[in-house]
């Protein structure tokens, strides 16, 4: 790192995006070590090219675009392993017993969803997104990754299913399960507490 960049206040700001970038890389690479490597390479490249950041996009968008190239590099290295699809952590998605946590025998909500107070206001608060991120971290790994790719990155379900090596119906079950769990987590940790009032 040069003297010029060490004095630049944007460095701390760049670093603050690291957790998001690691999550982004993990969603693509499914390997914590490779994801950390890709992010490290991307951040170094960003620091070197900091003067080229014109502020036309947000810093996160710019960093993500650099990271995409680094991820593509990692993926090329992984081509040989493509066929070796990891198991989906016991979340086979086939059974529906997990739904019993949310619904009774007649299919009614055990804990019927109530309206949330001021959800629009939550979206304006930094603290809400810290809670949101913690809730994402609590999701089972495959479900959390599939949800992140679908909802945060906006990838098509077909693409996610294919690269995760799971059937569309299992993919939908994983997404549904993740949404129910995330909704419940936000309700308990944000909307039912002081912050949501």
């Amino acid at each position: 790192m040069s003297d010029t960049t060490t004095r630049d206040p944007r460095i701390a700001e760049i670093e603050s995006h690291r957790p998001y970038l690691v999550r982004y890389a993990l969603a693509q690479l499914r390997d914590a070590e490779l994801a950390q490597e890709a992010v490290q390479e991307a951040l170094l490249a960003a620091l070197e090219g900091l003067d080229g950041f014109g502020g036309k996009s947000t810093l996160r968008t710019w960093l993500t675009s650099i990271l995409r190239f680094k991820i593509a590099d990692q993926q090329r290295r992984l081509v040989a392993d493509r066929q070796r699809l990891e198991s989906i952590d016991g979340e086979d998605g086939g059974g529906e017993a997990w739904l019993d946590d949310y619904f009774d025998e007649a299919g009614h909500w055990r804990d019927a969803p109530q309206p949330w107070n001021n959800p629009d206001g939550a979206l304006e608060q930094k603290r809400f997104f810290e809670v949101f991120e913690r809730c994402l971290d609590k999701l089972p790994s495959t479900g959390g990754r599939v949800f992140f790719r679908r909802e945060v990155l906006g990838e098509e379900t077909e693409v996610i299913c294919a690269t995760e090596g799971i059937t569309p119906s299992n993919c939908w079950v994983l997404l549904h399960r993740a949404r129910l769990a995330l909704r419940m987590c936000l309700e308990k940790t944000w909307f039912a507490g002081e912050a949501g009032r």
């Binding site: 949310y102 809400f128 379900t157 129910l180 995330l182 909704r183």
Partner: protein, 62 residues
């Protein structure tokens, strides 16, 4: 909508989630709308799913 075609909250929640990922069939949509007209809890769930979608998009662009 016949009684046989009516769905419960468990199925309605599944269809609401599924609607984010694929086009529902006419039958699925009819059954879902019939259920939503009568179920406030599922209408709340529907609104909260939309919120999750917005929150996730906002999370990406922060």
């Amino acid at each position: 909508m016949t009684e046989e075609a009516a769905i419960n909250c468990r199925k309605a929640a599944q269809l609401l989630s599924l609607a984010s990922d694929r086009q529902l069939s006419t039958e699925e949509l009819q059954a879902l709308e019939f259920h939503l007209q009568r179920c406030g809890a599922c209408r709340n769930f529907q609104a909260q799913l939309r919120f999750l979608d917005r929150a996730a998009k906002r999370f990406a662009s922060r």
